[in-house]
């Protein structure tokens, strides 16, 4: 670290260079710190949920429905919430998947430019809507006249899932090489057959990825359900015309209760929901990598 070692020859380290180096180091450190903070936050939240929810997790948690003791304690499990969430997500996907894919096909393959732009804009706007507004919309459109139901809740979730599925389908359709389409048409196949028989199957991987991501997203949504399927009975409901309980709503409601046994159940429900969502997210990454390899390889 001798001063003359640095000062010799042409590459003299003057004060200005030292300052610039320090600024550079500080900025590099800050950026690294930022990344660490983000990762730390993720770890903290996940660990919190698992740690606090672990004790309440048991087989009965998954199979029993809630019971309420006279002392204000919570008992039983969240079977009705789990079933309810599954129903809501399944119905929502059944609505949103076909409509999303078909809209994407229209926008990417068939629509004139200006029409496609309008639809794309509409999808982007829908994507950016606060989910509570979506819930209020479905409330006024369906619930006011017909009451709450799983169908209403699914419809709200479908609205949220639609732009996600449509956008990811568009992106994967764009990746299909034009030569594939030309090959289909050159064989004499009509447009609709080329699209449904060649382009669509090639895009399946991307559609699967987008759908998985959309499911992961809507499984955790609470706001759209507040006004559409929140007054549910505490037993397992199978009829979609009745309102159903769901995991996000259970967490939301249980945390408001004063008794800590409810809080423990809220954490546990959170753990189940988080596991579901994170596993789905990981699956979607796996599908994405696989479909990328297929399209380029």
């Amino acid at each position: 670290m001798a001063a003359d070692d640095e000062a010799q020859g042409l590459f003299v380290v003057d004060g200005r260079l030292r300052r610039r180096r320090i600024v550079n180091r500080v900025m590099e450190a800050l950026a690294t710190l930022a990344a660490l903070v983000a990762v730390a936050l993720l770890v903290i939240v996940v660990v919190s949920v698992v740690k606090n929810g672990w004790d309440a997790l048991s087989v009965s948690f998954f199979t029993e429905t809630p019971t309420f003791s006279a002392l204000g304690e919570s008992g039983g499990g969240i079977a009705n919430s789990i079933v309810g969430s599954l129903i809501l997500v399944t119905l929502a996907t059944l609505f949103a998947l076909p409509v999303g894919v078909l809209t994407a096909i229209y926008v990417s393959e068939l629509a004139p430019r200006s029409v496609a732009n309008v639809i794309r804009l509409a999808l982007d706007v829908t994507n950016g809507l606060p989910t509570i507004v979506v819930g209020i919309f479905v409330f006024s459109a369906i619930v006011i006249s017909r009451g709450q139901s799983a169908l209403a809740g699914s419809f709200a979730l479908a609205i949220i899932a639609l732009p996600l599925i449509a956008r990811s389908t568009q992106e994967v359709l764009r990746l299909v090489p034009p030569s594939l389409r030309e090959a289909g048409l050159a064989l004499g196949a009509p447009r609709w057959r080329t699209i449904l028989g060649v382009v669509l199957p090639t895009s399946m991987g991307g559609i699967l990825t987008g759908t998985t991501l959309a499911i992961a997203r809507i499984a955790g949504e609470t706001a759209p359900l507040l006004f559409t399927t929140s007054l549910a009975a505490m037993t397992v409901m199978w009829d979609p015309r009745d309102p159903v309980q769901s995991m996000p709503l259970t967490i939301f409601q249980y945390i408001e209760q004063p008794d800590p046994s409810y809080h423990a159940k809220a954490w546990a429900t959170g753990a189940v929901l988080l596991a579901f969502v994170l596993v789905l997210s990981l699956c979607s990454k796996f599908f994405l990598a696989r479909s990328r390899r297929r399209l380029s390889g």
């Binding site: 610039r20 550079n24 900025m27 950026a31 930022a34 990344a35 983000a38 990762v39 936050l41 993720l42 939240v45 949920v49 409509v99 078909l102 809209t103 229209y106 068939l110 629509a111 029409v115 639809i119 804009l121 509409a122 982007d124 829908t126 950016g128 809507l129 606060p130 989910t131 509570i132 507004v133 979506v134 209020i136 006024s140 609205i159 639609l162 732009p163 009509p190 447009r191 609709w192 057959r193 449904l196 992961a216 997203r217 499984a219 949504e221 609470t222 706001a223 507040l226 006004f227 929140s230 996000p248 939301f252 945390i255 809220a266 959170g270 929901l273 988080l274 969502v277 997210s281 990454k285």
Partner: protein
């Protein structure tokens, strides 16, 4: 005549094409109709409140179901303050993360850390709210807020007693939700900077940070603005996590430690039923304001993105 040219075959393909066009077109139409329907229904639901209060609704700080008086001001304030604080913290944090991922991270870590940051976005808001109430809140009340008060307490924003709920915890939760979006868009932007521009700066004898400041950040300025606005849109509309930690109080708190409410959060908080039609309609009024905010934010972000694409493909 070859079988492919027989009229029946051609008719069949024609019908198929038309059918596909009609079906997919109907779906596209439905997508547009949906937006229109949402806007219409929300505005329609607010007409009662609008005719009762008019634009005065926007400047009144009251929310009294008993007296039937409602106003949005304290919620507009709460929305603005929580979102702005969230953006103030989230923006440099996200840019830092994106710079780390594009410039500093070793190759094998890049995708892993990128994936971890994206997973932050996957956490359902109700779980963040749960964590916010039971973990973050007490931490802020017992440690963070007193710490801030110890040297910033002379500012009105940091006066009053620390609370486990309130504006500040809500802002922190919103920050956590905004960071992944802004970070991932920023990361894509930084990856799109042409390497020859970066090489040019480094060849002049610039340090890496000087290159980032002069080339990378400069080149991606408009895109970054759009990313921040996208983050703003997310923060504005978040109802669940906010309502769990903000305390749900009407009025404009003097300090950041105080309780308050946002528009989205107030709507969510009233889900168990409103007392009167006017109250329900007032909720719709709030939703309409929220919708308007979100549309404006969305459109601005789109405009920036469009201008940005033009700037880098055309010359200017």
């Amino acid at each position: 005549m070859p079988s492919e040219l027989r009229p029946g075959r051609r008719l069949g393909s024609r019908v198929g094409d038309v059918t596909l066009f009609a079906v997919t077109g109907a779906c596209g139409l439905a997508a547009v109709a949906l937006v229109v329907a949402i806007a219409y229904k929300v505005v329609d639901g607010s007409t009662l409140a609008f005719s009762t209060f008019g634009l005065q609704f926007l400047v009144e700080q009251v929310w009294d179901p008993v007296k039937g008086e409602f106003g949005a001001l304290s919620f507009i304030y709460g929305t603005a303050v929580t979102s702005l604080i969230a953006l103030l913290i989230a923006t440099p944090l996200s840019i830092g993360i994106a710079l780390y991922l594009t410039e500093l991270a070793p190759r094998f870590l890049r995708d892993t850390i990128g994936a971890l940051v994206e997973m932050l976005a996957a956490i359902p808001s109700v779980i963040l709210g749960l964590w916010g109430i039971l973990v973050l809140g007490p931490f802020m009340k017992d440690h963070l807020e007193p710490f801030l008060q110890s040297f910033l307490g002379w500012l009105p924003a940091f006066s009053d007693t620390p609370n486990a709920q309130g504006i500040l915890p809500a802002a922190v939760v919103l920050t956590i939700m905004t960071v992944p979006i802004v970070a991932s868009v920023s990361r894509e932007l930084f990856q799109s900077v042409p390497p020859e521009l970066k090489d040019g700066a480094l060849a002049l004898g610039a340090t890496r940070w000087e290159m980032v400041r002069g080339v990378t950040l400069h080149y991606t300025r408009p895109g970054l603005a759009a990313a921040v606005i996208l983050g703003l849109g997310r923060a504005l509309g978040e109802a669940i996590a906010v309502t769990q930690v903000i305390g749900g109080q009407v009025g404009i708190p003097r300090s950041l430690f105080g309780l308050g409410d946002t528009m989205a959060s107030r709507i969510a908080a009233q889900y168990q039923g409103a007392v009167s039609n006017v109250q329900v309609s007032s909720l719709f009024y709030l939703a309409a304001i929220l919708l308007a905010f979100s549309l404006v934010v969305n459109v601005i972000a789109q405009l920036i993105v469009r201008r940005f694409e033009f700037q880098h493909t055309g010359g200017s």
